[in-house]
């Protein structure tokens, strides 16, 4: 059992290691343990970009033990929404943290000068980062750190990019080139702490409590993963397979939701796979390898027969945010936008939604050409490439406002009704109906992965507001258990409650299905309490007007339905979180 917590203070370059078995017994690990560590250390009213913010990275008891336990949960106060920040990443981070001997790592304070941290088993090194500040490409920063630090094959390199250094409120962290702590601005929190990167190295192991049973259950999970239908979608086209069916359904957001359908043949999952898919990559301990990498071969602008080939990760969300949402329908153009966003270390969803708002605001005269510098228009990827540079470089007041998120910019310039954010977080690509939008409003991190509302919309046709809320919350409570183990949500059909309960036995734990369900509920309420203390209110003001104007696969959405749902949520869950 791994239950150690490492706390690193950047203000005085010290660290401390504590045994926290109490957290495992009561909260499993991952998000359950992480939220307790955050509560112990963070003042809810702290400024997210001050030294008072605290970051917790957390893995769980399944992390080194089972396939698909490949995720790390990060918790912090979000500089984008001003309330609870939570984001999950794959890559090799979870394996490295657990192998270094930790369940969780907390980082607090602020370094006076730029640094990066190397966690090498029981030792923590604070390295001078002054000569690697200002690198505009996160790939290059990753390569430099890979060459100067050890631990090849048993490490993870987690870095904020240039966007994080420039405090863009939706800057992400990148790990192993293609995975991200994407949402809610953890990159900016790194930036505000003068922290460039965290390298984690470890090779610690431990024995199972029951060797025979461990091998049996391990093989069972492995077989379900590789042989059953549970992982099929991710094994084949990946999440990009959603593009065509969602467009067909009218659920794909197009041009800031001003249009209903999109010519998306060229940016479909099928087209990407046929024309560009150049490689697949896996997170640690994942047999599915859902990371799809496109090869983009390009001739130099000014020299014939000189080519470069860039490898670019793609997923449904990126195709939506930097494709249909801003009207870009050409695959090459889209790949270049994805690559730019990746190089800077920006969250792709927030970047796309901010650009979509800016385009409409420009078109409708809320902002001028002086503000936007170029003519922003849907589909014009050359302008968007420039605009992305300016979001990071912030050459004028407008772009430095846009770097604070779509809600912030819209509140200043006008156009809040079409700034597609929920509680301040830019929306993911699901205009599927009530469950999607209500799910985003009440979801603890305002993400589609909180409660899978988009999926509920596609499965069930007529739920009452109360039923919708109950179904979403129930799903989100169970997902607290999954993200305490911590397993990838893509493997949620592998890790059913019965199997989860059984899989604890050979690694020395006992949790019944009932107990797991109750822990899920408790973690949910703990998080809701913290959100409340940070100022979150579940009400209509968190939802842009456009939601009530657009057609969805469920038709036009009634405001009263949202009112009823949110009132019910407030009474049944929110007011009980004290």
């Amino acid at each position: 059992m791994i239950s150690r917590v490492l706390t690193i203070d950047l203000s005085d370059y010290t660290y401390e290691i504590q045994e926290r078995e109490d957290l495992v017994e009561k909260w499993i690990g991952g998000v359950g343990a992480g939220i307790q560590i955050l509560k112990e250390r963070l003042n809810p009213s702290a400024d997210p970009l001050s030294q008072k913010n605290v970051i917790v990275f957390s893995t769980g008891p399944f992390t080194p033990a089972y396939p698909y336990a490949s995720k790390t949960v990060a918790l912090f106060k979000s500089p984008l929404t001003g309330e609870l920040g939570e984001t999950h990443a794959g890559g090799r981070t979870a394996m490295a943290i657990a192998s270094a001997g930790y369940m969780s790592v907390a980082i607090e304070g602020k370094s006076e000068k730029p640094v990066y941290i190397v966690i090498d088993g029981d030792r923590v090194h604070f390295r001078d980062g002054r000569s690697i500040v200002g690198i505009r490409d996160s790939l290059i920063l990753g390569r430099i750190l890979a060459e100067i630090e050890g631990g090849r094959g048993i490490r993870s390199i987690i870095r904020a990019g240039y966007a994080g250094e420039k405090l863009v409120r939706y800057a992400c962290l990148t790990t192993e080139t293609y995975r991200h702590f994407g949402r809610l601005g953890l990159g900016a929190v790194f930036g505000s702490k003068n922290l460039l990167a965290v390298v984690v190295i470890g090779n610690k192991t431990y024995p199972p409590a029951d060797q025979k049973l461990y091998r049996e259950i391990y093989s069972e999970i492995y077989r379900i993963g590789v042989e059953s239908e549970a992982m099929k979608k991710y094994h084949l086209l990946g999440t990009a397979e959603n593009v065509l069916p969602l467009n067909e359904l009218g659920g794909l957001p197009v041009k800031n939701l001003t249009e209903r359908r999109f010519d998306c043949e060229d940016i479909s999952g099928e087209k990407f796979a046929d024309e560009n898919l150049g490689r697949r990559i896996a997170c640690s301990h994942c047999p599915t390898a859902c990371i799809h990498i496109a090869a983009l071969r390009e001739e130099y602008e000014d020299e014939r027969y000189f080519f470069k080939t860039v490898m670019i990760g793609y997923d449904y969300e990126l195709i939506y945010a930097l494709g249909s949402m801003i009207g870009v329908k050409n695959r090459r153009d889209l790949l270049k936008l994805i690559h730019r966003v990746e190089s800077f270390g920006l969250d792709a969803i927030s970047t796309g939604v901010c650009l979509a708002w800016a385009t409409e605001a420009f078109k409708r005269g809320f902002v001028s050409r002086e503000d936007t510098i170029v003519d922003l228009e849907f589909g014009n990827s050359a302008s968007y490439l420039k605009a992305i540079n300016w979001i990071v470089e912030q050459p004028n007041e407008f772009y430095s406002d846009l770097a604070k998120g779509a809600r912030y910019a819209a509140e200043k310039y006008g156009g809040t009704e079409f700034a597609m954010t929920f509680a301040g977080n830019e929306m993911p690509g699901y205009n599927t109906g009530y469950a999607s939008y209500i799910g985003l409003t009440i979801g603890l991190r305002h993400s589609h992965l909180d409660n899978g509302g988009y999926s509920l919309d596609q499965k069930v046709s007529s739920l009452s507001p109360q039923e919708t809320v109950d179904r979403l919350v129930k799903e989100e409570m169970w997902r607290q258990v999954l993200s305490s183990l911590v397993v990838c949500f893509f493997a949620r059909n592998v890790f059913r409650p019965e199997l989860v309960s059984r899989a604890f036995l050979p690694i020395g734990f006992q949790f019944t299905e009932d107990e797991l369900e109750k822990i899920g509920e408790r973690i949910y309420m703990e998080k809701l309490k913290l959100k409340k203390a940070m100022g979150y209110e579940p009400d209509l003001s968190q939802i842009p007007e456009r939601v009530f104007e657009v057609e969805t696969p469920h038709g036009r959405l009634e405001r009263e339905f949202f009112e009823d749902a949110l009132n019910y949520y407030r009474r049944t869950y929110f007011l009980k979180a004290d």
Binding site: E147, G153, T205, Q211, P287
Partner: protein, 134 residues
């Protein structure tokens, strides 16, 4: 004698399942984690250039056995070495002697080296590894 060999290294996705299998395989000392593995899955200076696995090449005249003062490593019929961890005193001469960097330090200070048992092959989901007659 059988040896573990690369069937197609270009297929490697870097998932590390082989490493975890290797740590798990020893019935007398089964371990959860990467640190008892005699095989290592690495990226090629970043995953944009792909991934590969590093393990014992089954040399016919293994330099690692030659420099082993305790005879913990002995040449194995068909290539590679056998490893007797009880007599190993963790000098790590073998780690320096292996030109391809295929001997690794375990978390208890002793070494991990592939002995060509082939257990990992069953857990490689993408056909990177195979066991063949030497």
């Amino acid at each position: 004698m059988k040896i573990l060999r690369l069937a197609d290294v270009e297929k490697c996705v870097g998932c590390s399942l082989c490493m975890l299998a290797c740590s798990r395989k020893n019935v007398k000392n089964q371990r959860i984690g990467l640190g008892h593995s005699g095989i290592r899955a690495v990226s090629l200076s970043g995953f944009e250039r792909g991934a590969t696995v590093i393990f014992c090449h089954a040399c016919l005249e293994p330099p690692c056995a030659e420099v082993c003062p305790s005879k913990a490593l002995k040449p194995r019929k068909g290539g590679g070495v056998t490893y007797n961890e009880r007599v190993c005193f963790s000098c790590h001469n073998c780690i320096s002697a292996c030109k391809i960097g295929a001997i690794f330090e375990r978390d208890d200070g002793k070494i991990a080296v592939c002995i060509h048992c082939g257990y990992c092959v069953d857990f490689c989901p993408h056909g990177v590894l195979e066991v063949v007659e030497a």
